[in-house]
């Protein structure tokens, strides 16, 4: 029976002559062979001593293993990169590191480089969560004071490649939908909505293309804040930018394609956004899902163009406008031309924000002279004082009672005042009071206490 044919005394020269990778492959084999040899040799009967192993030989072999292990440790230590000398040498002595070595080290550094505030997993997906819980009460007849689970938002992104990125918001939300004043669905059950779902392509600063479901670039708020109250100063969105299934009047979501980017304009910082999409659903009943995720009820597409400036000279200032055009086609009714014009001027710095936006929604019954114009605006400002941020908002919408798309809205206006307290980096407590006057109905006083968080 043959055991290891390579005597241990010849292993070390062999190791020194071959490359490190070969050494790493050979060493376990050698050690394994030695152990095997030890065992087998231990099993060999000795003349004069049939059952007991040769203790001296065994001891020698164990010592040899120890020596070999020590040598392996020594070789491994020699393979470690030399410590970097700091401070760096003078300009005349400076030299670039060898490319291969530097690449390997940079790769390992890059692997350990983690994106800010995102998870540490090395998978393509990055996941971030947002949620809120609110205690809310108001003076509306029939309403009760209640704890309300807000949207549980899973924000998922993936850097598919250097130019492509995937982004989505998967939102679990409870309660019924409220579409143009009509309540639909169960009161206390949760449902899942994919609120954003888009693939982005970034060619350069001047051209970024996205396809999927996104927030329409009408005004500022709609693209600055999505489905997370934690980001927002207040407990909720302005009435003007409320979601379609929460009584909102604007096509907040679009399914289609968007192009955006910088316009070469120097310090003026002009940007553009151009969007084409399915627009809002308009077949009867209007109170079905307003966002046309899968099928458009007509061939005509909605268009939106937005321009805004972020001048370098006044950091935090943004002014802009947008124009949205669609044609709605209710069954058994004349078609309705929809034009939405929006303008905004906002000033946002970490310690201060002042948002001002105005929107006009114009619905023209095609083939008639009937035109319904709905103006709306809001102004909001807040100031950070340590962990506290007091804020104030005034909002206004004035729709006709015969408005063909959202007859339930009518006149709504009033102030909101509140205080946001950042209890930690990821948790915010907000207390907000709203006073809303309604045309032909009693004014509403509302109070809300909310905890919003990210995780």
């Amino acid at each position: 029976m043959k055991v290891s044919t390579l005597p241990p005394s010849r292993v070390l020269p062999a190791l020194e002559l071959t490359g490190w990778r070969v050494r790493r492959r050979i060493l376990p084999l050698l050690l394994g062979s030695l152990v095997t040899a030890t065992i087998l040799q231990a099993q060999q009967p000795k003349p004069g001593d049939v059952t007991a192993p040769d203790k001296q030989t065994l001891q020698l072999l164990l010592q040899r293993i120890d020596q070999l292990e020590a040598r392996v440790r020594q070789l491994e230590a020699e393979r470690q990169p030399a410590p970097v000398v700091s401070p760096a040498p003078g300009p005349a002595q400076r030299s670039a590191p060898p490319v291969n070595e530097a690449e390997q080290q940079a790769e390992s550094q890059a692997e350990s480089a983690v994106p800010e505030r995102m998870d540490l997993s090395k998978t393509l997906l990055r996941l971030r969560g947002f949620g809120d819980i609110t205690l809310h009460g108001d003076t509306r007849k029939g309403n009760t004071t209640a704890f309300t689970l807000g949207q549980l938002n899973l924000f998922v992104t993936s850097d598919i490649s250097e130019k492509f990125k995937f982004l989505s918001e998967i939102v679990f939300e409870g309660g019924p939908d409220n579409i143009y004043g009509v309540t639909r669905g169960e009161i206390n059950t949760f449902s899942v909505d994919v609120e954003r779902y888009l693939i982005q392509y970034s060619y350069n600063d001047y051209l970024n293309v996205a396809a999927g479901r996104f927030h329409t670039a009408i005004g500022y708020y709609n693209t600055a804040y999505h489905h997370s109250t934690w980001f927002q100063t207040t407990t909720g969105r302005p009435l003007l930018f409320q979601f379609e299934d929460r009584g909102g009047i604007l096509p907040v979501h679009t399914v289609g394609v968007s192009a955006s980017g910088l316009i070469p304009s120097g310090r003026l910082g002009l940007h553009y956004v151009a969007e084409v999409g399915n627009g809002r659903a308009s077949r009867s009943p209007l109170t079905q899902e307003p966002v046309q995720n899968v099928v458009d009820d007509q061939n005509h597409k909605a268009f939106n163009l937005a321009l805004f400036a972020r001048p370098q000279t006044v950091r935090g200032l943004q002014v802009g406008f947008s124009a949205y055009r669609d044609v709605l086609a209710p069954i058994n009714s004349p078609r309705v031309g929809e034009t939405i014009l929006a303008a905004h001027a906002i000033f946002v710095r970490p310690r201060f924000e002042w948002l001002n936006e105005a929107v006009v929604v114009r619905h023209a019954i095609i083939g008639t002279s009937q035109v319904f114009t709905t103006p709306g605006f809001y102004t909001q400002f807040s100031r950070q004082l340590g962990s506290y941020r007091p804020y104030f908002r005034y909002q206004y919408i004035n729709a006709s009672g015969t408005e063909p798309v959202f007859p339930d809205v009518r006149l709504r206006q009033g102030p909101s005042a509140g205080l946001r307290y950042d209890a930690s980096e990821s948790v915010a407590l907000k207390l907000q009071y709203d006073y809303t006057t309604l045309r032909g109905r009693a004014a509403i006083n509302a109070l809300a206490l909310q905890v919003g968080f990210t995780f």
């Binding site: 940079a106 370098q312 970490p350 310690r351 104030f392 102030p415």
Partner: protein, 179 residues
């Protein structure tokens, strides 16, 4: 309603007053940091050797470090390299370039990623050696180092037409604590 009207007037008036005061205070011009004392060091803004950029204004630098620009003029993707929170180099960049604190900076990037405006979040590295090697190997990378940590593997760019050794250079950091 008249009672409410009075209260609301007070609310609105106070709010606008507070807003105007806040707005005015936030409009105070940015005062560049004082010239370095003998004990201070300068912070160099460094890019990959292949990057043709030579100079950036402070406003451009701010746009880059806040992720508002995603590509270099040569079309390369910008990869922002930051040092770990707590490092004085990072604190200097946040204060002097971004004009934010740590929390604001994190929120800014989180919000930017959330809106989709920021395409890629910064890479965070622990040591100047790591920063140097990352930038050496990534053509679109930009980062920062103490002048004493710079070597020939990276390229130092001018900020507002000034190199770190020039008089009037604006990026300074306190010296490393002696061990």
């Amino acid at each position: 309603m008249p009672r409410w009207g009075g209260i609301l007037s007070v609310f609105i008036g106070a709010g606008f007053l507070a807003g105007a005061l806040s707005f005015a205070s936030d409009l105070r011009p940015f005062i560049p940091s004082e010239p370095p004392t003998a004990s201070e060091q300068n912070l160099a803004v460094v890019v990959n050797l292949s990057n043709p950029i030579e100079n950036l204004s402070m406003a451009e630098l701010r746009s880059l470090f806040l992720g508002e620009r995603s590509h270099w003029p040569n079309g390369r993707r910008i990869t922002l390299v930051m040092m770990e929170p707590g490092q004085p180099e990072r604190a200097a960049v946040l204060s002097l370039i971004c004009q934010m604190n740590e929390s604001d900076f994190k929120n800014h990037f989180l919000h930017g990623l959330f809106t989709g405006e920021v395409f890629v979040s910064p890479k965070t590295l622990a040591t100047p050696v790591g920063v140097r090697k990352f930038i050496f190997n990534v053509p679109g990378a930009i980062g920062y180092l103490r002048v004493t940590d710079v070597d020939a593997s990276v390229k130092v760019i001018r900020v507002d037409e000034r190199l770190p050794e020039d008089k009037g250079y604006r990026l300074h950091i306190p010296p490393r604590p002696s061990k």
